[in-house]
């Protein structure tokens, strides 16, 4: 494949939601960019902050209620009534995680380590941090900084840069 003159040089990825699939979409995109040698910034805001909050990052769930794409193993529709039973969401989430592990997709904390090991940078949104009354100590040590939206746009700029909202 011939290299064009406008190959991506930088991606800035925003993760605003805290379900397993939303967080992993952002992590896979970010890690994939790092693997390609693209400068990568990963910005967590609102419920996405769970992914970089020490207490929450290992407890992400996937929604079994209000999720029309949710199906039983085998493909039958997943009855909403089942989703309200305590433990069902945790069970489904555990199953999702084990299936990802089988594909060599790491847990969130290890994924963040992989991204930063390759030079990717992780940021938290100041407004959401204030809103959720979190402190820097509550966040993973791999978080480089808590920044405002203005600072985000400053670091996201440059030639052949893209912003991706997952």
């Amino acid at each position: 494949m011939s290299e064009n003159n406008h190959a991506l040089k930088k991606v800035s990825i925003i993760c605003a939601k805290g379900s397993i699939e939303d967080v992993y979409a952002a992590l896979v995109m970010a890690n994939g960019a790092v693997m390609e040698g693209i400068e990568t910034k990963l910005f967590f805001t609102f419920f996405g902050l769970d992914a970089i909050t020490k207490k929450q990052m290992k407890k992400l769930h996937t929604a079994v209620l209000g999720n029309p794409a949710m199906r039983m193993p085998g493909g039958l529709p997943f009855p909403s009534l089942l989703g309200i039973i305590p433990g069902v969401e945790a069970g489904v989430s555990a199953m999702m995680k084990s299936q990802m592990e089988a594909l060599d997709i790491p847990p969130v904390d290890e994924f963040l380590e992989m991204i930063t090991a390759g030079g990717g940078e992780i940021y938290a949104c100041k407004l959401a941090i204030d809103m959720f009354k979190l402190k820097k100590e509550d966040l993973s040590d791999l978080v480089k900084d808590i920044i405002t939206v203005g600072q985000f746009y400053e670091i996201a700029g440059g030639e052949d840069s893209q912003i991706i909202f997952t």
């Binding site: 693997m35 390609e36 290890e110 090991a117």
Partner: protein
């Protein structure tokens, strides 16, 4: 399909420069492929390359994570050895197919 000459041997490669037959590879050739990628190979590089070739020959999935768990090198070290895109560069130098994994 194209061919390239490394260390006096004609090698069949795809249009991105990945070897079509990993059996055509040897260490001398690896040194020349690496030079094209701007890398001077050390023993550490060869340890990683051996791991990659072994894993690919066994038909096991090759990911950055698996290299990081190889015991040879951690992920940060892997990025330092093959700067930029380590898995792509290392597989090209190792004479195996470009990895299809997303992680």
């Amino acid at each position: 399909m194209a061919t390239k000459t490394f260390a006096g041997k004609i090698i069949q490669v795809n249009d991105e420069g990945y070897f079509l037959n990993s059996s055509e590879w040897n260490k001398e050739i690896a040194v020349e492929v690496a030079k094209e990628e701007g890398i001077a190979l050390t023993e550490k590089h060869f340890a990683v390359i051996d791991f990659i070739r072994d894993r690919v020959q066994k038909g096991e999935a090759l990911t950055i994570r698996s290299v990081g768990k190889s015991g040879i090198i951690d992920i940060k070290g892997f990025y330092e050895l093959f700067p930029g895109a380590p898995l792509k560069k290392a597989t090209k130098i190792a004479g195996v197919a470009k990895p299809t994994s997303c992680v």
